[in-house]
Structures are given as structure tokens and as C-alpha cells.
Symmetry: C2
Subunit: 340 residues, 2 copies
């Protein structure tokens, strides 16, 4: 168990236990806890700390405050066609997504394209982990959900929409890690600002404005003000797209409504989640087309160094974590142990 | 007919005639010409000049070079499920899209979500114009296609993918202009760099690198080098997503393949086009949800001035053009007349 001043190296299995115990202890059902442990542990192993173990704290708070039903049983709403609908009944999102994913995959294979909408859920984790399993079985997948109501329009100075993450996954063949990315509509995810606040670090310029609309490098001021959209008006457009897809389209909350309804317990916001799956077999091009795409992505990665493809650093961290153990923040590690 | 040194003001109908004559004259069929005139004239009226009348020049060149079949008859490929496939047979894209759009809308209404793939086509116009008609009939729509092979990865110095535009439209109710945007994966569309080259203007810093990978403000050098993705690695990720969706997923060319195959006649590249349509009626939320979304968008626009929603400037220009006439570049106007 190698360690330094601020971090401790533990096995992936220990990461899972560290995540699991507080969840079960606070009354979260086995089905919900299993899905949550999988997502949080994988993010921690991928060195995507802002979606890793520290999210457990917020989940526990959200149960303690009475906001999230820890034993909610997701209900599959009867539909026809290529749409799967699940009412999460005010529980966490990952278990309903796990229920819906095989139904979505089945419909995508049947119709060529299909959609899964989960309503009334609390999503707190990284979206790439939600869609990677679809790409591993040969489907193309997209997903999105509302995020913290914290992002300004380009040229704006107050929140207009949420951090609204959007994810995409493309299959690379059996046994190959899919091409997958997950991006927030803001310059950075709110979690990155939270992590810097916890670490007492300041923000790079260009990330945020304070509550008066003035540029700020203070995480506290940024959390009271607004984060800027990535890429100016283009990132703002994509943020609004996500807001409309995961909100009004599927009959769920916009991020401002979710924020207003939230008891501010540091847990995730209530809202909707939209996932699409597409089966390449229903389109032109024959069987070799996915192999050709995989070969292209491999050559891209080789020819454009030091530039990287999305997910490269994360997947490298995952291989390292599985081989050598996972480096976890010591204060967080201790805090999670105390929660038990 | 008001005018200044470099521009001439003509009616919208005159814009349409200016677009139509060269197309028919060079042998483009009535069906193709109709769709092309609609798209180019609307972009010109919207003051989206990079997708306006000047595109006619490239289309004429592409027919003269023998690259594009001016009378190609799109073939609807038999499919089951929620996928519409059209083989454009090496013709321009807009006529096949017009053939496919009602089939796509029908399937979206039947299944809740549907996809339209057009293969072997030449697309040269603004994507928002392709999907606005779907949103006008109450559907949510997305579309994408490959663009000029000219965009580097974040941190890269040579082209890795195309300018790859992506568009989204959301209905705002009967008689209301939909929420719609269209963005390239690059900081700017290649057309913007072309326009500056034609005008003898230099580029703002941060748009492009030259063929050696060094930053440049010269349009000529940028066109030999690479344009940068918007928003760094996030824009690059979206560019790669579009490349995979409009290329390998539907069995069509990647932008590098399209570029290699192209005779460099200044016309559009051959490639594929993917459009998705989603029917809000298949999801939760009831009938009032779209009205609520429309009211939210209206309040956003009012509360966040001077920030604007996507499309605001373009739709304002359209209203102005329809009332007062369209300001057209005089050299382009004269050049198009000579083409007849």
C-alpha cells in the first residue's frame, strides 16, 4: 500500500468497498448501490476524480435529507415503437439506466434506432460509463442530462442553463475499448470547481464570472456566479440543446426548475435523462465498416501525437489502476470510512 | 434598388433568380435546382453569406468538372424499422433530403424516433435549413455531415477530420420560428476563411495553423494548413463524433477519403448525411410541455441581453431582407450574371 502525504494507494476492490459501505449503511437498496459502486469506482480508477468517490458524499447527503428515495423501484412505462420510458420514482438514475439499457439495445437492434428516457431520477455520475456498455455490444450511443444550473450564455453574466453533460460512444470491435467521450456544456464541469474549492486552489482565468458578472478565479465566487460555456456561443448552443432534450422533450425539469426544487443538500439534482442507441447494421456499408473505423482511429492516435483522442488518458489511467492500484485522496478516504 | 460601393440591394425573388439561372443553364435538373435555390436564397437572406449565393459558383464548377451528376435521381433503399435510406447516386444532397424528409417525419411519428441516411451525395449548404422544416411540424431534429478535411485535433498541427457541421432544431409551436442552430466543429467554417481570402482580409488569431503547424492569420496559409477545433478538445470530440456518424456508421466516406477522391473543382465533397427526428408526443409530459419550452426560450432571450440565443441574428436578418430586400456582394452578383 504505497502512499504519499495526501494520497493513499488502494486496490480497485478496496475502492469498491469504500464506495459501497456508506451507501448500504444509509439505506440505499442493493440494486441501486451495485450500479452506483460500479460507476463511481470506475471513474476513480480512470482518474476522473470529479465523478469518483467524492460523489458518494453527496449521494449519502441526498438520502439523509430525504430528497432521494434510497429504495425506489423504477417502473417501465408501457410504450410502442422505438421508445423506452422509465419512471425512476425519485430514486438515483443508475439502477433505472441499468434496467433500461437492455430494453433500449433490443429496440435499437429491431428498429435501427431507439431512445430511452428516464424521468424523475437523480443522476450524479459520468455519462461515458452509462453508454460504454452499449458500444461494447456494437451499438452507437449518445446520452445527455441536465447539470447544475450554473452556466451563462456566451456574453451573459448569470446562469441561463445547466452544465448539461453530453456523451457519445462508438464501437471499436470485440474486446476493444470503445471510442467514448463525455463533455459538459461549460468550460469545466461544476465538479472541477468543487474539487478546487475543497483543495483551496484558485481557478484559471476564463472559467467563470462572479455573481456580479465579473470574471473571477475564486471557486467560491464562481459557485455563486456562473461558469462560462465552452467554445463561446457554440458550447452555449449545445448546452441549450441538452436542456431541451433532457428536459421539455421528455417531459422533465429544466435545470433552473431542478435547482429551485432542490433542498441544496449537496446531492444531485432531480431531472430527466435521454439516451439514444443506433445499430450500424441497419445502414449501408457492410460488416467491414466498423473495422475500418477502428483502424482509422488507431492511425489518428498514432499520427497526431502529442494530440490525443478523447478518453485516451482516462483509459490509460484505468489500465494503470487495475495493475498498480488506485491513488485516492487521503482526506476523502478517511471521510468515507467515518461515514460507515 | 439601394446600393453602395460593394453591395447591391435586390429583392428576395431576384436573389432566387440569380441563384436559379446558372444552375439550370449548366444542366442541373428542375428538382435539384428548386431545392438548391431555396437553401441558398434563404441563407443569403439570413445574412449567412458563407452558405449563400457564392455557393452557386462551386456547384456549377462541380457539374462542369463532371464530378456531380446534375440529373441524378435519388433512390429510396427498402428498409424496415425506423431507418430511411436514400442513395443519392452521386447528385447534390438537397433534393434527396427533400425526398427523404417526409418519410423520416412519418417514421418519427410512428416509432417516436427515426433516422434518415443519405449516401453518395454532395452537400454544400447550411444544415439548419435542412431541419427547420421538421421542427416547423413539431418534431425535434438533429443532422450532421462531413465537411472540408481541414481541422486539427486540439494540440495537433495537421488536419485530422473535417469541419463537420452539426445542427439541432426544436419546435416552438405553430407559426413560431423554431429554435435552431448549426455549428461546424472548427472555430469557423471553412467558408468563412474562403470569404476572407476573397475579400483580401486576414484572420483573427487562434483560428488556424499553417502547413508547418505554426499559428497563422493568412487565409491562404490556413487553407494549406489546418483550422483549429472550437473549444479545444471538446470541439474536436464533437468533430470526430460527426465524422463517425456521417461516415462509418452509415457506410459512407470519411472527410479524408472524400478529400482524396475529390477533383478539387471548388465544389462540395462527396459523402454521407445523417438526420434524426424525434416526436415529443412519444415521451412523458403532455401537450403543454412545448408551450412551456417556448415561453422559457422567450424569457431567456429577454433576461440575458446582450447575450443572444442561437439563430437570433439570422432570423432578424431574414425579416429585414424580406421587408427591405437583400444586400448582395456586387462582384458576386456580376459574376453570377456572367455565368448565365
Amino acid at each position: 500500500m504505497a502512499q504519499d502525504q495526501d494520497r493513499i494507494r488502494i486496490s480497485f476492490e478496496q475502492v469498491r468497498q469504500l464506495a459501497e459501505r456508506p451507501l448500504l449503511r444509509c439505506g440505499i437498496s442493493r440494486e441501486h448501490a451495485d450500479a452506483m459502486v460500479d460507476a463511481v469506482s470506475l471513474a476513480e480508477a480512470d482518474d476522473a476524480k470529479s465523478h469518483g468517490l467524492y460523489r458518494i458524499l453527496g449521494c449519502v447527503e441526498a438520502v439523509r435529507s430525504g430528497k432521494v428515495d434510497p429504495g425506489a423501484r423504477p417502473e417501465v412505462v408501457p410504450t410502442s415503437g422505438a421508445v423506452v420510458r422509465i419512471d425512476a420514482k425519485g430514486g438515483f438514475a443508475l439502477h433505472p439506466l441499468r434496467v433500461g439499457r437492455p430494453l433500449l439495445a433490443e429496440k435499437a437492434k429491431q428498429f435501427g434506432i431507439a431512445a430511452l428516457a428516464v424521468n424523475n431520477c437523480y443522476h450524479f455520475s459520468a455519462l461515458w460509463a452509462d453508454i460504454e456498455p452499449l458500444a461494447e455490444q456494437g451499438l452507437v450511443a449518445l446520452s445527455c442530462t441536465i447539470g447544475a444550473y450554473n452556466v451563462a450564455l456566451a456574453g451573459g453574466s448569470t446562469p441561463a442553463f445547466g452544465t448539461n453533460p453530453f456523451a457519445f460512444a462508438f464501437p471499436r470491435g470485440t474486446g476493444r475499448t470503445p471510442f467514448v467521450f463525455d463533455l459538459s456544456s461549460s468550460v469545466v464541469a461544476k465538479g472541477e470547481i468543487e474539487l478546487r474549492r475543497r483543495a483551496g486552489e484558485s481557478l484559471p482565468p476564463g472559467w467563470a464570472v462572479d455573481s456580479q458578472g465579473a470574471p473571477t478565479t475564486s471557486p467560491e465566487e464562481a459557485l455563486k456566479g456562473a461558469i462560462l460555456p465552452f467554445g463561446g456561443h457554440k458550447g452555449a448552443a449545445l448546452g441549450l440543446m441538452v436542456e431541451l432534450l433532457a428536459g421539455p422533450l421528455i417531459g422533465d425539469l429544466r435545470s433552473a426548475e431542478a435547482f429551485t426544487a432542490d433542498p441544496k443538500d449537496a446531492g444531485p439534482l432531480r431531472g430527466g435523462y435521454l439516451m439514444l442507441a443506433i445499430d450500424p447494421g441497419h445502414f449501408a456499408g457492410g460488416e467491414g465498416k466498423l473495422d475500418a473505423a477502428d483502424a482509422w482511429l488507431t492511425s489518428l492516435a498514432e499520427q497526431h501525437r502529442p494530440a490525443r483522442l478523447p478518453g485516451t488518458r482516462r483509459h490509460a489511467a484505468r489500465r494503470r489502476s487495475m495493475a498498480e492500484g488506485v491513488l485516492v485522496s487521503r482526506p476523502l478516504h478517511d471521510q468515507l470510512l467515518e461515514l460507515c
